[in-house]
Amino acid sequence: MKELKRELIIPNSQNNLAEADDFIESNLETLGVDKSLIADIAISATELINNAILHGNGGDTSKQVKIRLEVENKTVIVEIVDQGKGFDPTIIPDPLAEENLLKEVGRGIFIARSLVDELRFDREPGWGTKASITKYLPG
């Protein structure tokens, strides 16, 4: 499989979510990645991009979100970087708890983590929170 390294920076608006999704999906399609695996990566990534736009950057339209896509050694890595002050992902309420099951929001990080092999959060100097997802491709 070919290797790939691409980057997209979008203005901080959900109006740009489809562009970010297309960036991820079309690049992975050109490498022949399985459609179902692309969907898992895209669902996970759009959860984190929504999170970056709405929470990390607080909906501030003067900010940006950076999306970095890397494919190497049968491994897909997507990094989503906001310009926010960061958050503690361990304090998110359990979306599977009975009292949270009917809540409209609060399951994005859970879904993002469920569909990939690794999800971690750290900081990117000069920017803000960096969410990194890793998905290992079969074969």
């Binding site: 959900q14 969907a39 669902i43 929504n50 099951l101 409209e104 929001v105 399951r107 994005g108 879904i111």
Partner: protein, 114 residues
């Protein structure tokens, strides 16, 4: 995402197509579902056969709509669930919340037996 709707036997069938991921399309679907309640249309089927995938935004819209319908003595049911969406409903335990059907006809029929 594209969103069509039709009505049969007092049941409104919504047919979203594409991906439900957030942004203006998702907002349009959310608004349409709440307008249906305002128009006293409370028997809703969402036909998910044309939806490639959705993320938590899509699930949030369905939950919000389900709650609104049930609070107004109506109901919202799901039909033609794809494998990808079934998997999401399972991992989020929402499979225990929604009534799902293999076909729109089965979902429509379930309203008449209620």
């Amino acid at each position: 995402m594209k969103l069509n709707s039709r009505e049969t036997g007092g049941v409104v069938i919504l047919e979203p197509k594409g991906k439900i991921m957030g942004g203006p399309d998702a907002t349009a679907m959310h608004e349409m579902l709440h307008e249906l309640v305002a128009a006293d249309k409370k028997r809703i089927i969402v036909d998910l056969g044309g939806v490639d995938w959705m993320n938590s935004t899509g699930l949030g819209i369905l939950i919000s709509s389900l709650t609104t319908m049930r609070n107004n003595n109506g109901d919202l049911k799901l039909a033609n669930i794809t494998e990808k969406i079934q998997s999401l409903l399972t991992i989020t335990k929402l499979v225990t919340v929604f009534e799902t059907f293999d076909s729109v006809d089965d979902a429509v029929g379930s309203f008449s037996t209620n």
